[in-house]
Subunit: 212 residues, 2 copies
DNA sequence: GTCTATACGTCGATAGAC
DNA sequence: GTCTATCGACGTATAGAC
């Protein structure tokens, strides 16, 4: 659990404030990991962290932004960040991510709640979080998929960006289904998707006919 | 907690009460269809319906149960109920459902919020709603898929229940992606899934080699 | 700059009057 | 059966202590 926090902080915040903010954030992450995303009131988090609820708004502006920060920082801390090999399929990445999420179910709860908030009107911070997350993920996955289509690893008769959106949607949806009911065939569904994506319609990786 | 009538209302309610409840429910559905799932406080709904918020809890027990009732009744009213032909693929059903949902975006918001609530602890009504919905949908879809695998319409090398979970997850996830960003390739992703499910690995529906 | 103390308006829920 | 009254908890905003 190393902690290389060289995160670029906006504007002229000073070391003391940044450190304190990070300290509060780390503690909040622990709270979420332990107790799930229940008790997610400003006052409850504040008392767990050891400050008053006003201090949280001082550093994070609003509950919504605090929750977003917690989610983002949790993902970073979990080492969810990328050194995946080029041959790892998108579905493989999903499985990896789902496995770490399974160990900290509170984060999936939190994620689901953030998405629901983003869908409502009048929550610009949550909306921007969700929109940029999906856009970035789709872009990342699509280019990876396109490369794997070119190498024949993934079938070439489906558009890369559509497959990216599909894989993300399936990952999100299956996690919630599994969280609600252990009997949901999450792993089998991912395996099926993996199988169906296999480069069955393409030749050996010799010809450059992959995409389209 | 210590409330003795934790159980939902038994079927012994009288005609007058039932009619009034339905009246309130219908009005609440209109409110959601018009204004989305914002302003979803008991007081806001009550004032739109023309009663006080205490009256709503009298008929529905809690805000959570009212929201569930609104969602369920909206689905029924939309004619989302099934007379789909046996040849309609699961993905086709998703597209159909997504099209009606697109006309009433408030319902997707509401659905997403209900799922997020169900994932938290201490919300048994929402949890039961979500769990039974997914279980029923998976069961329905799986048997339909198995039949179409036997007839060669869907490839037979993937387990029917896994495909069912996958299709539901993809449908849910793609709808939220699209709702957040019109540029999300919802339709293309569904088309890709449809294509990949096609019975490419199976022969003509003569031999009984289809499923498993 | 940090943080506490305090206050405001709204929320879901409940008790009791009519 | 429906209202009024009230409760505790919530998110937010602000004043001022360090």
């Amino acid at each position: 659990m190393s902690d290389p926090r060289a995160e670029p902080r906006r504007r002229g915040a000073y070391a003391k404030g940044v450190a304190r903010r990070q300290e509060i954030l780390d503690r909040a992450i622990e709270v979420f990991a332990e107790r799930g995303s229940d008790r997610t009131s400003l006052r409850a988090i504040a008392s767990a962290v050891g400050v008053t609820h006003a201090a949280l708004t001082h550093y994070f502006g609003s509950l919504e932004e605090l929750l977003i920060a917690v989610y983002l920082a949790s993902g970073d801390a979990d080492g969810e960040r990328e050194p995946p090999s080029d041959d790892l399929t998108p579905v493989g990445m999903m499985i990896e991510s789902a496995r770490t999420n399974r160990e900290v179910p509170g984060l999936v709860q939190l994620y689901s709640s953030l998405i629901a908030t983003a869908l409502e009107e009048g929550h610009p911070a949550a909306k921007e979080f969700a929109t940029t997350r999906f856009a970035r993920l789709r872009e990342e996955l699509a280019s990876r998929i396109a490369a794997q289509q070119a190498s024949g690893l993934i079938r070439g008769d489906v558009p890369a960006d559509a497959v990216a959106a599909l894989v993300i949607a399936a990952s999100d949806g299956l996690q919630t289904q599994w969280l609600l009911d252990d009997a949901a065939p999450q792993h089998e569904a991912l395996a099926a998707l993996e199988l169906m994506l296999r480069g069955s319609a393409s030749r050996a990786p010799s010809g450059g006919d992959g995409a389209q």
